[in-house]
Symmetry: none
Subunit: 175 residues, 4 copies
DNA sequence: TATGAATGAGTTTTCATTCAT
DNA sequence: GATGAATGAAAACTCATTCAT
């Protein structure tokens, strides 16, 4: 499953082949079909497992301000520049979710949990009291911003992430 | 090429087949190989042509404030909910650009032009003078926000786009 | 072996899988290879065992006229309409016998015994004295008729078996 | 399609492989899937085409007595001993028809036409006036007898077909 | 002795590309 | 120029058999 997750990020969901997964994992071809009901099921399981490992809601529970969340995003994004595995995987999964109902449901649950975790931080953050938007909306917007920056970083690795995040900080601080 | 662009959005870049393109266009199978050097070249041309038609820099030249740009994004995003063709195509192309050098270059140029157009608006917008970030950074951030919201809208069509944009407005207004 | 015999009738000799046999029998996969030298041997044994259970020569020993044999065929054929297991199995085995030498020999022995049993009845039946054919020939012909009707009944369950047998009775009575 | 029909007879319906068909026909593997919607469709078409070529209703139109029909069966059966292609193919198709609805329908139509042709002969045959059975029933019975003998001849090539047919003649003559 | 995980040869099918017409 | 029949490489998947436990 690790091999599958890496391959999704490397070559794209629709171009992962069971042979490549098996080769990467050092297993024979038949092993993939033997252990999973089919290629799609393998990819779905592999992607979701990777997300669950990468996203730990507890980490957010300790945070008290949105600034810290954004700082976390930035750290993650910078680390991602080197190994874009999880980020690319997330984007591939989001695209695939439009076509695969099960993936859509399970990924949706994961995203809702993430939004909830960020919304809880927003609720605790007194600096946001000036904003009329609900904590849930702020959380959704922030995660969308994070994903958008991720997307652009993947295309253009020379993008100045630091400046972007500084601007985001400034906008929130002003509010 | 229109048929190809639609199919990329529908089934994903890696799963478009030349036969499906020909069938959708009402052309004979052989026509695809006859008119293009190969499948990849067809898809690249089709995607870029679709972007060039959808993104008209002149539209931004008439705008005087970032608020208007955001309003434009919102209108576009709402219209996208019905036919996600261009949005999905853009995401597919962004993912593919990581692997295809020519697509990366040409798509990069397009994005840079878009960023420049938005940066020009930001430069004209006096309401942003309070932000220390450069107009280019603000433009890049805004486009990333737009793409991030697009991505999330495609997965979860019930997402309240209006609330998100209202929050974005508020954040910018505060700044 | 019962599971194997049923599966031959259901899906056809060439499409039985060892996993399906094991699953139907409620046994682990490995058990099939463990207890039999291979799939083919299992199927041969299973088919022959089923025939030996279904065909009891003693039943014919009690009969005194070919009419009774035919009546027995008819009864069997009618009962077969509901559960075509043994009939279908017989046809599958007959086809397979053309390719498998061991099955051919053992099935041939079984059929010869059946012909002999019917021939013995024919010998005892005084009503057949008018026919110049030997009891063995009459027996072989009758069994062929039975199998032919069986074959057609399996394809076309609405075939009027009663009328067919009545005509057969009439033909023999006339002779 | 000729290669497919021969292979069904040789190795059995369920064990025909598209590779073997292609090899026998001297074509590349891909050709089979290219020209037919799938293996099953190829086999169905091949079998039915072979039957339509082998069974010509016009041949029966010229006959005036059932004796001639039986003589025709015998000739066919004897010729079959050398190349059991059509006979074996028919049996395979009959078995398969139990599982494939389309084959069942189309084969059923063919068999009904054959029964009708034989029934027409039976109607013209004045020697059968002594039998109370309808011409249709007599036809169905005769064809079943023919198929049954065919089946047994395939298993046991040493079976004395001549004696069987002589007995059949005698039975009908008596009636 | 018995199990079931693992293997890999073999199956059907797809499809970009070629090329004779 | 344009077509579509043909090719063959590669894909996903099946399954009898093996063998460590």
């Amino acid at each position: 499953m690790e091999a599958a997750a890496e391959l999704i990020a490397e070559v794209g969901w629709g171009r992962v082949t069971t042979r490549a997964v098996a080769a990467k994992a050092g297993l024979p071809h038949g092993a993939v079909s033997y252990h999973f009901a089919g290629k799609q099921q393998l990819l779905v399981e592999a992607a979701l497992k990777a997300f669950e490992r990468a996203f730990q809601p507890e980490e957010f529970a300790r945070l008290d301000s949105i600034e810290e969340v954004i700082a976390g995003f930035e750290t993650e994004l910078r680390s991602v520049s080197g190994s874009p595995a999880i980020a690319a995987l997330m984007l591939e999964a989001m695209r695939e979710a439009e076509r695969d109902a099960e993936l859509r449901d399970r990924l949706g649950t994961l995203l809702r949990r993430a939004r909830q975790a960020v919304a809880d931080v927003a609720r605790r953050d007194e600096g946001l009291s000036g904003l009329s938007a609900s904590p849930e909306t702020i959380a959704a917007l922030l995660i969308a911003v994070g994903d958008g920056l991720l997307l652009h970083c993947l295309i253009d690795p020379e993008l100045d992430v630091g400046a972007q995040f500084a601007a985001l900080h400034a906008m929130l601080a002003g509010a």
